[in-house]
Symmetry: C2
Subunit: 355 residues, 2 copies
């Protein structure tokens, strides 16, 4: 367990049950109805992590992404770090390691007292800024509104030459799939809330102790706050063929988006699921269908999901462990196929120790 | 009056009392708690409408801005256009005429029915997209969440060489001040709401007819939806020394930000205020202190406020009238001074005809 002093509950006000993204189906329907996107050569749009757009300057593209969402954790400082790590992750998934600018997007809860707003906003902004500094970038610009619900997010932009990003489209039969963070963050965050909800807690207390719920929650928090930047750097070093990051649509949702973008006729088969310890049991016991084992449980600021040449994958995992002090896993294979991602029927659950 | 068929919710399958708006009462309460009449904060880059950041590529900067806010008008399509025009305006204020990418930020109201959400979101997105196409750019990327209140906004980015933007810092004594859109949009939007609020309507019915309220509202709507792009192009042609755009802080708020950013010891004096017809009287009669004549009434997607050499200003105004079919005005002067913007005690109100 990393050394961490819990956020003081007297500064509460960032209740974490707000998360509610628009269902992917509905969003895609809306976007399609617009003939969404751009027809300029070399631009890519929906389904992928960042847009890549040629500029009026020869050989220079802009790679850009935005994300904003509702708080997940009680600690506003960590919430800020998670928000920044989550936005930056979409650049990292494209192999972009340098962010030229970050904008911060904030909706400050109108339901808080003035005091609560001031304290929590200061902490959120500090966490966001610190994660950006760690990423070698800084926050210049943004927008703040009052809103019934707290909102935190950002916009990450990188002005890149062609060799600075990796188009996520060159997976080859025989590649292996690597994942750089464990799954189960949503379950961990929910289980932590259930400590204060007796009717839910009763359902899971047979499979997990309160102490382990707290450990799982903090593991999720640290994992979400960790940058995928080293993972992105190593994608270049070890010749990654394609990558995405695992967020709201779950590992299989993102794997499907990625496999549909591949030039060659490939499919992905996922043979193991690294999950924060005991979260698979909690997911089963809680009677809420998170679809964790089906691969659809939402993650926030999840790991990179990378197609790597088989001879490089072990070295990739070894080096990222050295740099980040956390494990990455070979979780599956790229096979010949018709652009489908599936989880193997005999999928192995890897219980990931608490950080 | 431009040809415009009023937004009819029933034509889109919505009930006739559908409003794509934040409950006004609730919003006003929030604004009071903030201590000023605006729900927006400016970007972190003090004095600049957009941030300008050098990139890792020689001579290439990224110019970027974001804004998002709550709906102002009932017509979702126009609301989308206004949001895009408002975001782009911050680039235009820097003389940047080419936007390389737009991201769209949406919060879809969780208080709407599924049907209302789909229809209104489709229209908002179409308006946003059409304004972007008109601006020669397109929407690639963004984020959508469900939120109690409707939110619409975007992120505009331009990758620029040094000659493509005009740093707003070179105003000279003897320059004149030009404004490209009339003031009074906030009053017009409010007056239009008061048509349905008898207690407020009673206060203004002595000074304006219902018909003229509707005309003023539509004039405001068309004005907010109009791009400042031609204004930006002409800033280069006529050698503008500095500019900003008029939004949430009102004309004097933005004039003050701009004058404080000037290298030379100058002040601005505003001698006339072009205001949508009858809005000055409405502002006075309504007993709500919008501070319109004091220069602090919030505008959305307002005009460019430009410091131009005196021999160029008339030509600038003439050409923008030809291109945009709407007037611009010489409203004041740059004088020697200590970085203050003031409105002349004998300021002249220019009543601007309904579009």
């Amino acid at each position: 367990m990393e050394s961490y002093k819990s956020f003081d509950p007297t500064e509460h006000g960032l209740s974490s049950n707000f998360r509610c993204k628009v269902p992917q189906e509905e969003l895609l329907k809306l976007l399609e109805s617009l003939g969404h996107g751009d027809h300029r050569e070399g631009s890519i749009g929906i389904g992928l992590d960042s847009c890549v757009l040629p500029t009026r300057h020869d050989g220079i593209s802009i790679v850009q992404t935005t994300d904003f969402f509702y708080p997940l954790v009680n600690d506003p400082y960590y919430q800020g770090k998670i928000a920044a790590a989550n936005v930056l992750s979409d650049l990292y998934a494209m192999g972009v390691t340098e962010c030229d600018n970050m904008l911060m997007l904030l909706g400050i809860s109108s339901q808080m007292t003035l005091q609560e707003r001031r304290i929590s906003t200061k902490l959120v902004m500090e966490g966001f800024r610190d994660a950006c500094l760690q990423a070698g970038t800084s926050v210049n610009g943004g927008q703040t509104v009052l809103n019934p619900w707290y909102i935190i997010g950002g916009v990450a932009s990188s002005v890149c030459s062609r060799d600075e990003y990796i188009m996520p489209e060159n997976a080859k039969v025989g590649d292996v799939l690597v994942l750089t963070k464990p799954l189960g963050t949503q379950i961990a965050v929910n289980a932590h809330q259930w400590l204060e909800e007796p009717s839910q807690w009763e359902k899971i207390e047979q499979v997990i102790s309160k102490e382990d719920v707290i450990k799982a929650y903090l593991t999720a928090m640290f994992s979400m706050a960790r940058l995928n930047r080293n993972g992105a750097k190593l994608m270049h070093k070890y010749g990654a063929h394609a990558a995405t990051d695992v967020t709201g649509f779950g590992i299989l949702g993102h794997a499907n988006n990625l496999v549909q973008n591949q030039k060659e006729s490939v499919s992905f088969i996922i043979k193991s699921l690294p999950i924060i310890a005991k979260m698979a049991e909690v997911a089963k016991a809680c009677k809420i269908n998170f679809k964790l084992l089906e691969g659809f449980s939402a993650e926030t600021s999840g790991g990179l999901f990378i197609c790597l040449p088989p001879e490089q994958a072990a070295k990739y995992c070894e080096e990222i462990q050295q740099l980040d002090k956390h494990q990455a896993w070979i979780i599956g294979e790229v096979i010949a196929g018709n652009h489908k991602a599936t989880i193997s029927p005999d999928v192995q659950i890897i219980e990931v120790d608490y950080y």
